[in-house]
Symmetry: C2
Subunit: 319 residues, 2 copies
């Protein structure tokens, strides 16, 4: 049995996962601030999950922790997790001795990609916990920033320097909006939640929702932003499928809270490129896009799978 | 020992490759037209190569054939090879009985990617014939059209439908030139040899060279085309590295005949995005780009490797 955590800026999602892939227990708690806060949050939830499934914490096989920051491949050191007040944190050192089990960390988007593949890849010829199944999928995270994770034949592709999936900073318009990265027309400048909030510029708790509602009322500025958002997401889907030819692009992250109101516009943009181009039409991009179900534990489940060693991952895949 | 063929629109490049990866013999002959012409060209070269290395044709282990067309994964049926006058051709049926050895076909760009990895991946921590070496590389073909092949840990990634690497039809400018595919601002519309020849519109045997020379003389139209070409290639490099995080992007194909005159402009465009963006700067894209050496037998060698069965590929990698 394994523990998986998705440590977010406000909440932490935690699961206990059986060898066969089923979620035996799931809990969500607020994330406490800073390195000590993150550690306390994880330790508290680990104890609660152990109690919930009726074993001791050190009887879990492993723990995996997804966090919004940079993680060296195969390690447990998280850096630049600014939303959590964490500059650098060695989770193996901080948690390994206390928990008594192996600790792995992973960038939260990459963890979500692994979990989305395991949980939702079934519709694409894969199976639950299907780490050895054939096929390829991308998870596109539309949060404050925009990034993707690629899973192929059950294996996460991190890239040679760990920067695979940084599609948010591909420019798709040399005259497009200025991105905070410094380039113009980045995909993230069109459809990142942070960029939209900044361009909208009006105080709001839910700026993307406000933009959609204002666009419905005919606000010209909101219409430009909403059309750009759909174009940015559709462009990311085109980049992902034309380069990697994945079966499915699963959309998740805060911006997808708008659900079908957003997805229908994205599919509309994809339909426009398909209408212009027989080649694009042949790729059936709109059929490959779907939303991560609301409340999906993908990131926590993916973290639990990442937490397992390569040998243990094999065991799950064949278990 | 294996045979590998790169059947091009005008010439066919053929090699005999030893189990360890060395090229034992290489020959180039004009390609004859149509299905019968292709078969006759391959059979003639197979006999010549057998004589050159001193064995019978049926003593080769396998034959792999790269062609500019669509090839179903793991098969030998080539379709839509319009430059060769081939609508559909089952190479296993046409050649297998005559040659008496297993036949595989592959799209020529994908074959070149496999060969470029085997021949030129060494500089990136891989080794000759390094099919089991760790690392990832892309080959970007700048011919009449533009497409890429991805090789990762020695394995070609074809995608779930065989369309991985179709980066030529990613739009990077909604107001860019019209692509023959129907979209605007496709990478191929900027840097494909066919698109440049058409936009230049003046009769020429070497339109890309003419554009570069005219741009050197200050011709305003040529300057626009040349700047666009560099932008298109650099955009493809950005798409490839930001999505797949490969070690190296090796540029090949007819448009690269201009060598450093082209590469320096591509690196200039990459330097401009690096200057604008600390994130892009951190990726060191210009350092990852290189030219396939002129006259490289990458496509024929890659075809020979594709021709081997999976088991034989393993043997090469460890041989």
């Amino acid at each position: 049995m394994r523990l998986g955590f998705d440590v977010g800026g406000t909440k932490t999602d935690a699961v206990a996962v059986a060898p066969g892939g089923e979620i035996l227990a799931r809990l969500r708690r607020p994330t406490a601030w800073g390195p000590e806060g993150v550690i306390a949050t994880v330790l508290g939830l680990a104890a609660e999950l152990a109690a919930a499934v009726g074993i001791r914490v050190d009887e879990f096989d492993s723990v995996g922790i997804g966090m919004p920051g940079q993680v060296a491949p195969g390690g447990a050191v998280v850096t630049h997790a600014v939303n959590l007040g964490v500059d650098e944190l060695d989770l193996a050192r901080a948690l390994g001795i206390v928990l008594g089990i192996p600790v792995r960390a992973e960038n939260d988007v990459k963890a979500a990609a692994v979990g989305a593949y395991a949980l939702h890849g079934r519709a694409h010829g894969t199976r639950l916990g299907g780490l050895s199944a054939s096929g390829a999928m991308a998870y596109l995270n539309l949060g404050t920033g925009v990034a993707a994770g690629f899973v192929r034949d059950g294996i996460l592709w991190r890239g040679v320097h760990g920067t695979a999936g940084e599609v948010g900073h591909i420019s798709v318009d040399p005259h497009g909006p200025l991105c905070k990265c410094g380039q113009r027309g980045c995909i993230e400048a069109f459809c990142g939640g942070g960029a939209i909030a900044e361009r909208w510029g009006r105080p709001s708790a839910l700026p993307v929702l406000d933009v959609f509602d204002a666009a419905d009322r005919g606000d010209p500025e909101a219409l430009v932003l909403r059309t750009g958002l759909a174009h940015g997401v559709a462009s990311a889907v085109r980049v992902i499928v034309l380069s990697a030819d994945v079966d499915a692009v699963i959309l998740g992250g805060g911006v997808t809270a708008l659900g079908d109101r957003m997805l229908s516009l994205v599919k509309g943009d994809l339909a426009a490129s398909a209408a212009a181009s027989p080649f694009m039409r042949s790729l059936r991009l709109a059929d490959r896009v779907e939303l991560l179900p609301p409340g999906s534990p993908a990131a926590a489940v993916g973290a639990a799978l990442v937490g397992a060693s390569a040998t243990e991952q094999e065991a799950v895949a064949h278990g």
